[in-house]
């Protein structure tokens, strides 16, 4: 009895096409919407076995017919089973030349990265280009002759979060895999010692093997926050090994980049928190100079007034700006004004993105209430920490402490209309 299915190699392109048509900004959005892990979605697009339930759900969302594209999940090569590969999100990688610099952030990061035992924390709302920055840093590190490891916690399946031991094993394995070093878990994992200790020994071994600095980038660190006890243990561990660099040369070769989008709400003592040391980088939306630079790189010619007009609607939201540029490139005749005229409606260029956000907040009443509270206020409003985190990771808000406001005018107007719309039928039922 087969409980898992996978996409037939012949149809990989079909499903990727369907994904592009669905116009998600990234796979994580699809995963969030279907309430499954990114690991699952990633497996799906890479033709790896996926649980039958999930397979159907994904097909359903992408308008695919499971029977036509599936292959029995159990018919897999032995070589494939043994090798755990962390897929680089294939659709996220953009041509490097398109990367928009945000001085002095890049320089500051890189300066830090070459310091022994350094730690960088990149924080920013959803869709601000955190991963792009991290990728850029890794690229530069590689050029300098460092080893690099990129780890996206969303690619860990739910089972990895069942115990600290399991998670740390996955962590170690993923890192050595990413470094193209052999799996030597068997040699280093002993019941005799604590998981943290085992993990430390494993890393010591990695550092010895590498013989040069290793840049370890942990993306989507937020994923572990809900598992509070485990998060506290893991993050303390990270802080602990960071401190080791102060007295042990070997550990000075480990450079850590932590990427997260929400406030850290794991109760941690400051002495055991990695979020209280190192260099913090807060990624904000583009300013006008950066948008101009972006336009130049995308070969979109807009004058300053036009850019200001664009930004009055979407601010410096890199993704929204990018979408506008893409549209302008495809339809050069269309003026920006024309393009944005219907932006807020369900026929505009942002419809898929906005629809996705709407679906996400519709799934969670507390998010919806928070949005409703926010869109009608001219000032930032005070919200509970949980919805703030949820909206932060969706990239929907700008926030300071417990106060938040919509990230851009587009969001405010869109949700104003949607919320009114969604309330209308309820009123209509009344006699």
């Amino acid at each position: 009895m087969s409980r898992s299915l996978r996409v037939h190699p012949q149809h990989i392109e079909t499903v990727r096409l369907a994904y592009r048509k669905a116009r998600f900004s990234r796979q994580k959005e699809l995963a969030n919407e279907l309430e499954m892990s990114l690991a699952t979605v990633s497996k799906f697009f890479n033709g790896k076995p996926v649980d039958w339930d999930y397979f159907e759900k994904i097909c359903d969302r992408l308008g695919l017919i499971p029977d036509e594209i599936s292959l029995d999940g159990n018919n897999k090569d032995v070589s494939e089973i043994n090798k755990i590969t962390i897929e680089h999100s294939w659709q996220d990688s953009k041509p490097v030349s398109l990367y928009v610099n945000r001085p002095p952030i890049e320089e500051r990061c890189f300066e830090t990265l070459v310091q022994p035992g350094s730690l960088i924390r990149i924080k920013g709302s959803g869709l601000t280009g955190k991963t792009l920055l991290a990728t850029e840093l890794l690229k530069r590190a590689l050029e300098r002759g460092y080893q690099t490891a990129y780890l996206n916690l969303h690619l860990a399946s739910d089972t990895e979060f069942e115990s600290l031991d399991q998670f740390l094993k996955w962590f170690c394995l993923s890192v050595s895999d990413s470094l193209d070093l052999p799996n030597r878990l068997e040699d280093h994992w002993s019941e005799r010692f604590s998981s943290q200790h085992n993990c430390r020994k494993y890393f010591e071994d990695l550092l010895v093997q590498a013989q040069r600095p290793i840049v370890l980038c942990i993306d989507e660190t937020d994923r572990i926050f809900p598992h509070q006890k485990m998060a506290a243990d893991f993050l303390s561990w990270l802080r602990g090994v960071h401190e080791l660099a102060k007295i042990q040369e070997l550990w000075q070769n480990l450079r850590i980049v932590l990427v997260h989008s929400t406030e850290v709400y794991v109760p941690l003592n400051i002495h055991s928190s990695p979020f209280n040391v190192g260099v913090p980088i807060e990624l904000k939306d583009f300013d006008i100079k950066q948008v101009q630079d972006f336009a130049r790189r995308q070969s979109v010619s807009l004058n300053e007034a036009e850019i200001r007009y664009l930004m009055s609607l979407v601010g410096g939201h890199p993704n929204l700006v990018g979408t506008a540029f893409d549209a302008l490139k495809l339809m050069p005749v269309q003026s920006l004004k024309g393009l944005l005229q219907h932006a807020v409606t369900s026929s505009g260029i942002y419809r898929d993105h906005l629809e996705h956000l709407w679906r996400m907040i519709s799934l969670h009443a507390d998010l919806r209430d928070a949005v409703a509270k926010m869109i009608n206020a001219s000032q930032p409003v005070k919200l509970l920490p949980e919805p703030i985190r949820g909206l932060q990771s969706l990239g929907l808000i700008k926030s300071t402490g417990n106060y938040a406001m919509p990230r851009c005018e587009l969001y405010r107007r869109y949700f104003q209309e949607r919320l009114v719309e969604s309330q209308a039928p309820a009123a209509g039922v009344m006699p």
């Binding site: 005799r192 010692f193 604590s194 200790h197 602990g240 102060k246 007295i247 055991s272 979020f275 190192g278």
Partner: protein, 1098 residues
Amino acid sequence: MSMYQVGGSLPANFSRYVKRQADEDLYEQVKNHEYCYVLNARQMGKSSLRVQTMKRLRADGVVCAEVDITRIGGENSGQWFNSFVDELISSFKLTNRFDQQAWWERCDSLTPSYRLSLFIKEILLREVTQPIVIFIDEIDSVLDLSFKDDLFALIRACYNQRADNPELKRLTFVLLGTATPNELIRDDTIYTPFNIGKAIDLQGFRLAEAKPLAQGLQKKTDNPREVLRQILWWSRGQPFLTQKLCQLVELGERIPAGEEQTRIAKLVKLRVIRNWESQDNPQHLRTIRGRLLSDAALSVQWLTIYQQILQEGSIEANNSSEQMDLRISGLVVQREGRLWVYNPIYRCVFNKNWVDEQLSQQRPYADNLRAWKGSNCQDKSQLLQGQTLREAQTWADDKRLSADDYEFLNASFRWEADQIVAEARSEAQLQEQQAKAAEAKATEADQQFETAQRQLLQIKQRLAEEEQRVAKVEQRVAQEERKAQTAEHKAKRWTTIGSGAIVASALLGTFAAISGESANKAIQQQKAAEQKTKDVEERTTQLTTKLGEVRKDLHYQKVEFSNQKVEFSNQISQQGQQLNNAQNQKEQAQKQEQKARKQAQNIKHNLRIASISLEQNKENLADIWGISRSVSLMSRKRYTESLSELERLLEKNPQNNFAWVAKGFAYYEMEQYEEALKCYEAALRINLNDALALSQRGNTLFKLGNLEAAISSYDQAIKIDQNYAEAWNDKGVAWFTLGNIEKAVESYKRAIEINPDYSEAWYNQGIALVHIGAIEKAIESYDRATNINPDYADAWIRRGLALSSLGIERIDEAIDSYDEALKANENRFDALYFRGLALYRKGETQAAIESFERAIAINPNYASAWHARGVVLSWIKQYEAAIESFERATDINPNYADAWSSRGDALLRQEPTENLLLLPVTTVVPGNSLSNQRPYPVVIERPRPMIIRDTERIERALDSYNRAIAINPMHAGALYGRGNALFRLGRTEEAIASYNQALQLNRNYDRAWYGLGNAQFRLGLTEEALASYSRATDINPKYIGAWYNRGVTLLKLERYGDALESANRAIELNPEMGVAIRLREEILRHIGRTEDVNVPEQ
């Protein structure tokens, strides 16, 4: 890159490290092999100090290792200590210096901490020959670990063993962390290393020390020294803030000469203080805030102390744990014996507004408190009441609050108490009014009832009169009828005579032909007769008419009467109904009156208590709060906490006698009676007239066994407060215990008089009454107790016992009573036990067993129930199960003589028909003349299918009896049983001795007499046997076996007449007793009354 590092420890080669006094202190101490500890607030540079010191020590050839507790982790102490050891192995680079595999395997059987100890002594000190220092950082992280004491003990041991093992002198530990020594050192100071080590005082940067920091400022100022001075003014050398400010200057605008002070102030205000919550990166101020608000129990106190420091600039340091907590938070610092806010930045961030807001968030009544204080403690409307006050009390219960809080809460309590008293007063008045109204209503109802009753009586009288009248009329009718009947009868007779006369005259007429004269006469006679007939007929007609009239009259009268009767009966039923109503009303009114009275009384009672406690506490009003808190703790059985609370109160005011009483009460509850007594005496020294203290002292003396003193103490209490029902009751208990039941009953009566709803007093009275044999009265008393409190299981049980002591007729009531007890508390296994006994007496053996088993299910160690279960099982002949049950009882209580004895009985399978004598009978030869047959004895075995002579079993029974007798040499039942066992074993002489022992204890022991008789008979002591059997039958005339055996004995003695009587008695008691019938045949045969003998067939 910045030249400064904000947060986290500095790398060893950090060039701008600021050396402080602590650097020298730690280095020197460690060089001298002293154990050291650095306990200080967060972000004071502890870890940097460690890193630097390690670097210096290494340069000196000292081998150092650092263990960061947060890094170790682990699911259990095994993994934890193993990881600790492994950290040391790699830190000291010992990985390949010994056979790890073998070493670990050897360690597997050792306790985790011992592995570490072994590692230090066997490996570390052997492999490393230089001086060794182990730094343990973040030591406060161990506070959460259950095995932290193991670690401390080990470190301590390493120090202590230096004398025996000089090698250990090479090893030094340095502990660093953020905790107060109090937190780390618990009660057992033996195990802690914190009193052998040297404390290293870590202070902020001084200007002279901070020179290295000036370097980075040069880019932005011409006068780095002045800028640094300004920075240090703001930070007071706090390392984190100093680094942060330096960095801000370094990354900021250039500072023109002369503007240092204003620029730095601006910088601090804009970049640190304003919006500090969002600017606080890396986290520093938020950590202080978090620590201040971390403990719901202590935060208010911390905040209040801090508030005081803020207001007064500084306060005197007293090393209290709260002050230590504040210091370890880093917020305040001790200088010259006083506590100060550490620096101006903290003072600006954690300012008055902030503290006020935090306090108001912490305290549920912050606004009220502020307003009340604002009104100079006058505005009573701000005080808490009712639910809010209860909530505040609950909230405050486990906290240490400020004086303001306590003052406010006390005032609230006082205010509430005043109000309660006032309310109770008006309530009592109201209730009294209601009682009066109810009384009036009751009187009215009473009158109505009487009127109705009178009316009914009148109607009944009239009805009786009418009935009499009707009876009279009926009588008359009867008379008339009789008259009429007589008349008719007469008339008939005359008619007959008349016709006779005619016949006669006809005959005469024939003769008249012969003689005319006589014919004439005849005709005359005939005429006269005819005339007479006519007359009679006429009268008859008249009478009939009259009768008809009378009848008619009677009919009318009857109709009238029946009409009247209907009316009367209607009236009667109406009146009856009215009467009923009146009765009901009367009862209701009475009930209401009673209720109202009771309520009024209760309220008066409460009022009295309230005013007494108010009165008593007038002087100590300020302590009401503390006392109520301690009492509330007591009610939750947290006596130790309660005691410390009270001690706190007494320390403040040793004259608070109520606190003394409460303290005494706590000790009393903790069963420390001597201590309790001291407290009560102390209370009485303050106020000799404290009735509560007196009565409590009585209770304590009672517990200490000094009953007379207890009674005199109660008497004193009663003298002060005549209506002190509890004291009366307790006095009763004391008298009862002394054996003076009369005085006890008297005391209870007084208690009940004062408070008719005092269920305990009723209950106690019941017990006393049972004691003097007034069972019915006792039952009444229990009834009252259970009426008042239907959940009073003890009273229900006692009631059941009293009822069952009245014999089998009341046993059902007893069972009901036990059932009620169980309803009140289903876990009362004793109730189940007594219930089982009652059921057994009723003969409901299965139900009884069930009841015992329920008792056992609740309390498996309830030996009595096991025993009783065994007895019932024996009764229904389930001997094996019974034996098991007895053995459970003796397992639980090896000194349970009854159980041992009963076990013996069950092993013997003793039955009432046991040991009937063998009967000498005549064989019957068919065809022979019976009268000539000489009797000769033939043994007829009596049927005993159950009995197999099982010597081993009887021996066991004998053992069992001997156990019982060893425990209780006066155990008649066991002595008797032992007699039976010995008898069965053929040890007849010993059996006789045992029976005699039993009989010495109980001359009326019928079965022992019987057994004795059997033994004597067996030894040929026939006369003695006869005497014994006779005693048995005298005592118990229904004792069949004794009658039978007596008969046999008499037969043997050839006293046939007496023998026959005995045999007849046995047959009378059991007409189907075969052996007895045969005995009678035999006796009759001897007497020769063959006609009574049934000839057996064949």
